[in-house]
Assembly symmetry: C2
């Protein structure tokens, strides 16, 4: 048994356990083994650990000072397995980035400066630069605030998140296949997707060609999802993320469907009118329907909106510098920062809250379970 | 924002947050408000708190020294709402009692005595006396162990749990209605239940009369459950737990179906033969199918087995002093302690593990959320 200090922070619609690098390195076990045992990943219920047994509540980030000029904090995101002893390191998580921004101010890693404090972050999984702009009224850290976001009833501290130079962080290109739209033949007809790399690599399929609208409930999209995962695999290979026939990571490409705005009912029962948003989006996360949308996927959709003829561009209402995504949890807005035609940033409004500070007791991996008589 | 110290302990198949009474009383907010805010109960996902968003992971207990002679510890169990700002105080939870036993030794409330240390507990919700017998090899507290139980892959410290004088703790009678079996008319035919009060008040329906077997998967029993909740309500009224037409607590009566042993597949894929257990049981918890069985329900089933002609007695294989329950998670054994015909105790083998010690940051209830622009 070893003790590991960690901080539980809600960032947007995720719960993330944040660890200072000095608290988890050199503990006589690999970082991966420490996370899996701490979260209780062996059980689907994560009943023997601090994990929350869903993809949005089984997340961690390891945080350190950055030695890079102009960067305050490095963080490494870990998607910790649920019912499987595996950690995915292949992608970033913007919600955890939001949590890291608040934590950096709380823990003194970054000193508050004025009414809002910018935390300059590097995500080490993808190399992405992200700024978190944390509300610090009166030049001080506050643990709680009044900011709310779609998908979370409880308020928190307002955190603006800007993905800097989000294009091509994995494949060096906005459109890894070189095309605005790629066609995938099906047994009947064809599916059309824009394969985009911004925030994270993402495959954004036209909903209509798949018999969907993009405005499904979480349950409806969940029912359709199993038959669509083959398309995700083919898109991953086509983007160069995997060899033909080889395995494609659970984390990337992000996968979803987009469609024209239409009236729908959000998960909390709110009626949302077609006029109130610009594009319908339903995303998957770890092969399950996402209850809202991941932030890196939001960046990908925003970037695809700048591409003439993309699946997003084809359906999205034209607007100036902002795109509003209709998700199951409600409408999420993204602000586009452009240098001429080039997308140099995507800004999102988020909230975060520090939930708990804990000493986690981590069982050693070498124990051999023995059944009770 | 207030800070509250708590300890997260797995007890059996539940995760429980345990609080010393001095850490949660007199904090400028009611205990109920503190728990609801700490757990993030406002959201169905409990995304803004330490709750796990399921009935087995949204539990707390408040612990104090007992002033009663022959009792070491008093604990009060709280079933904290998920997506609803309500705490149920109406029942005990044996799994949390298991956690409390381990915590009492860890925290020094009870000093280890020899290879096994008995923690004498009073559950204040029901008045029940329970002994937890905690493995303390070499006369010392150990944070981990090799004991496993059905429904949890991870091992923990062996804890034996004995419910003392479990009969009639709520209604003063083993059979509150006075009958071994009560009949409830349905639109077609009738349902038969044994209404028993031991461990907790429980309504144990004969599965067959409801078109079930008692050996359903969790999903199958979950599909049948909505149509059965009317029977639970009628049983609660018949036991005197509510006025006719009045509301029945979500917590009690415990509700389930029993049937003859038959081969079935447990949730983890293990095949279980009819010969390996004595009675099939499928229970509900907070209106959802229980993944295994609650311990107070286990006591109720064991007590019903001692009643000639009960729904359990009718199906259970006759055995001497032990009954093995076939649950979705596997086989759970209970040992009966009898004084002549009178049931004086029920003993269960459990395991527990201390997961984390935390300072939880609890938002104050008076904050008014304001939506972000």
């Amino acid at each position: 048994m070893i003790g590991v200090s960690g901080t539980l922070v809600r960032g947007g619609t995720s719960k993330c356990w944040l660890f200072d690098i000095t608290d988890v390195h050199g503990r006589g076990a690999s970082l991966e083994d420490v996370l899996l045992a701490a979260f209780g990943s062996q059980d689907h219920s994560q009943i023997d650990g601090v994990g929350g047994a869903t993809s949005t509540t089984s997340k961690a980030a390891i945080i350190s000072h950055s030695y890079e000029s102009g960067v305050d904090i490095d963080y490494t995101f870990a998607q910790v397995g649920v019912g499987v002893n595996e950690v995915e390191w292949g992608s970033n998580c913007g919600n955890c980035g939001t949590a890291v921004g608040l934590y950096a101010v709380q823990s003194g890693l970054v000193r508050p400066r004025g009414e809002q404090t910018t935390v300059r972050m590097r995500n080490t999984n993808t190399g992405s630069r992200i700024d978190a702009v944390v509300d610090t009224p009166g030049g001080r850290f506050t643990p709680s605030g009044n900011a709310t976001i779609p998908g979370v009833a409880s308020p928190g501290v307002a955190v603006g998140l800007e993905f800097l130079d989000p294009v091509g962080s994995t494949t060096d290109a906005l459109l890894p296949s070189g095309a605005a739209v790629d066609d995938f033949t099906l047994s009947e007809g064809a599916a059309h997707a824009t394969l985009v790399d911004a925030g994270a690599p993402a495959a954004l399929f036209d909903a209509e060609a798949l018999g969907l609208t993009g405005a499904e409930t979480v349950a409806e999209f969940g029912a359709a999802l199993p038959s669509l995962l083959g398309l995700r695999h083919r898109a991953g290979v086509h983007m160069g993320l995997a060899a033909p026939g080889g395995p494609v990571s659970h984390a990337v490409p992000k996968f979803g469907v987009v469609g024209a705005p239409r009236d729908y009912t959000a998960t909390d029962g709110t009626r949302i009118a077609a006029a109130d948003y610009d594009i319908s989006v339903r995303m998957a996360s770890m092969h399950a329907p996402h209850p809202a949308i991941g932030l890196t996927s939001t960046v990908a959709v925003a970037a695809a909106a700048t591409v003439q003829g993309s699946t997003v561009h084809a359906h999205a209402k034209a607007r100036d510098g902002e795109i509003r995504l209709g998700t199951p949890a409600g409408v999420v807005s993204a602000r586009l920062v452009l240098d001429g035609e080039r997308l140099t940033g995507v800004r999102l409004n988020r909230s975060a809250r520090v939930i708990a500070r804990a000493d986690i007791f981590v069982p050693r991996a070498e124990r051999v379970p023995v059944a009770l008589p």
